[in-house]
Symmetry: C2
Subunit: 341 residues, 2 copies
């Protein structure tokens, strides 16, 4: 039988590694009940505290596991690019798994990465992920975990994100200062923290500039079909409000914005004269379409690079049995203004 580790005890009892360690060492801040449970289990499993050093996860595969919700998206492929290039420089290989915005798949894939003995995990959560036990289990095993883009507030780990609310607020404020008043919002699923924050930013800008919020100007687009949803929702928007009733459309991704643009271009709606269009992410195609799109610079490559830099640091700290201090990195976003506004 393989040597029992502190992580195994923590996992079995569903408590943190540090609690197990403190219980075994007789620290006073561990409850008597917990202390007894730990000692009984350690005894039963022949845990040997005298080899604490070797009990720490010492197997290093030089492999990182990365879970992305989707690969078929320019933003995530930029993030992956940043991760892979930085990994290569540090002699690490990257196993990529696509969760396909499916919570069950995300859980299976985390298990797979544990099986495959990766040294650390980078993950952006699915739009469906509402509870986080599967992530806690990873941490209990002592596997370094860093989240990027779609993160969980409830999990204490390093995170690399953008300030989605501010980015959205900046874009919508810009439109308002340019004189637009009837601004439609083309968003994503509100379960996802980043999309709900972008919606809050939109509302905050309207509120600050005293523009009444009109929920009939809000459309939700499916992440798996952004282009078509952008196109079709633009059609709905014009049917409902006409060119008079709306003067700008802000979309939470450039692919949605391109869908909106295509609808307007093929229905004699002039951009920006009739309706301005503002996107998000600065996909290379946003500068190519007619007219070129104003958008939010979303630093995908840097997000990937920063995420793995932090992960590699935590892997090293874990290996050297140093204390791991988590970081929360908020990457700046800027506006890219082009001819669509």
């Amino acid at each position: 039988m393989a040597q029992i580790t502190l992580q195994d005890l923590a996992y079995e009892l569903n408590i943190s590694v540090s609690t197990v360690s403190k219980a075994l060492k007789g620290y006073p801040d561990v409850s008597e009940k917990t202390r007894k449970l730990v000692i009984e289990l350690a005894d039963k499993l022949n845990f040997s505290p005298n080899v604490v050093a070797s009990n720490l996860r010492t197997q290093h595969t030089k492999i990182i596991g990365v879970i992305v919700p989707t690969i078929v998206h320019h933003f995530f492929s930029n993030v992956i690019g940043g991760i892979i290039n930085e990994a290569e420089k540090n002699g690490y290989m990257v196993i990529l798994l696509q969760s396909n915005e499916d919570f069950e798949m995300e859980k299976k894939q985390l298990n797979l990465l544990v099986q495959q003995q990766v040294d650390g995990i980078l993950i952006s959560l699915t739009v469906e992920t509402k509870n986080f036990e599967h992530l806690e289990r990873i941490q209990q095993r002592g596997i370094p975990l860093v989240m990027y883009d779609k993160v969980a507030k409830a999990i204490d780990c390093s995170k690399v994100i953008i300030d989605d609310k501010k980015a959205s607020y900046d874009a919508v404020s810009y439109l308002i200062r340019k004189g637009y008043k009837r601004i439609a919002y083309f968003g994503g699923s509100m379960v996802a923290l980043n999309f709900s924050n972008r919606f809050l930013g939109y509302k905050q800008a309207l509120e600050e500039y005293r523009i009444p919020f009109d929920d009939s100007l809000v459309y939700i687009c499916d992440t798996s079909d952004e282009y078509n949803d952008g196109y079709n929702n633009a059609s709905e928007l014009i049917k409902k409000h006409g060119i008079i009733g709306v003067d700008a459309a802000f979309a939470v991704t450039d692919v949605i914005a391109v869908g909106i643009t295509k609808y307007f271009n093929t229905h004699n709606i002039s951009i920006p004269k009739d309706v301005a269009v503002f996107g998000f992410s600065n996909w290379f195609m946003s500068s190519v379409v007619t007219p070129p799109l104003s958008t939010v610079n979303q630093p995908g490559y840097e997000m990937g690079k920063k995420s793995i830099e932090i992960l590699l640091k935590e892997i090293a700290q874990s290996k050297d049995k140093k204390e791991i201090v988590h970081e929360r990195i908020v990457l700046p976003t800027t506006l890219e203004i082009r001819q669509s506004t």
Copy 2:
């Protein structure tokens, strides 16, 4: 020590599993020299032929390894989509590795997949891959291997491809029949079989219609920067030949074609009136740009789906110790004609 398998003997001697098997069974079509080598090694390693059944690779992880040259490309993301969806239906998980068009990385990643004990491997080769020993080693280990898109003629395995030469020939013939005579070719690295075949198709069409081949109309674009290379080479093309000296541009990917389109659109060159543009792959953006691009329908999703269907079949055949008959699937391509020609 783990039980020695037929695969281990084959790997050590750098010969096929079937040769090892035949040598041990005393088949006459194995040379005496080979037979001796096999028997000596089997003896030395305590190989036991009475447990042939258990010597076949029996560990099944229900994991497939997929190597793609690049993920940040719509064609490959469609292929991955086809693979992943079909894998899921069959209860398999997919480990994705991006070789980044780097031959050394491709080799390392194949080793990684062997380490990770995947049940089978799908691979599209890098544009640099000129020798194939690393693939032979995989086969010697008895691991089912299927190639897609960029394949190696020298390796006997199942392959799923398109007829690159015919697809290119069809596109260029179409242009010629429409009256275009000075057709520029925007291609990819000639090391890659699929790109060199597309070039042959271009030349074949010119030849058949008795249009002189002019190598000053040929440009090679880097796969890692297709959009910009398309744009910049279009600029070179016009500098060298002027609008008079060229009437059509055929590009081996839509991303290149979009780069060409952007250059023409921003330099008062009318498409198709001054220069027609024809792309390849039918990326969704090819129908979105102005004017919408004519292109070759390249069945990415079906290629992924078919590749893994064959791989799963071969994994099952291998498990049941049935003979594996390799397939060579050539998926049909059609032309999508739009306003750019």
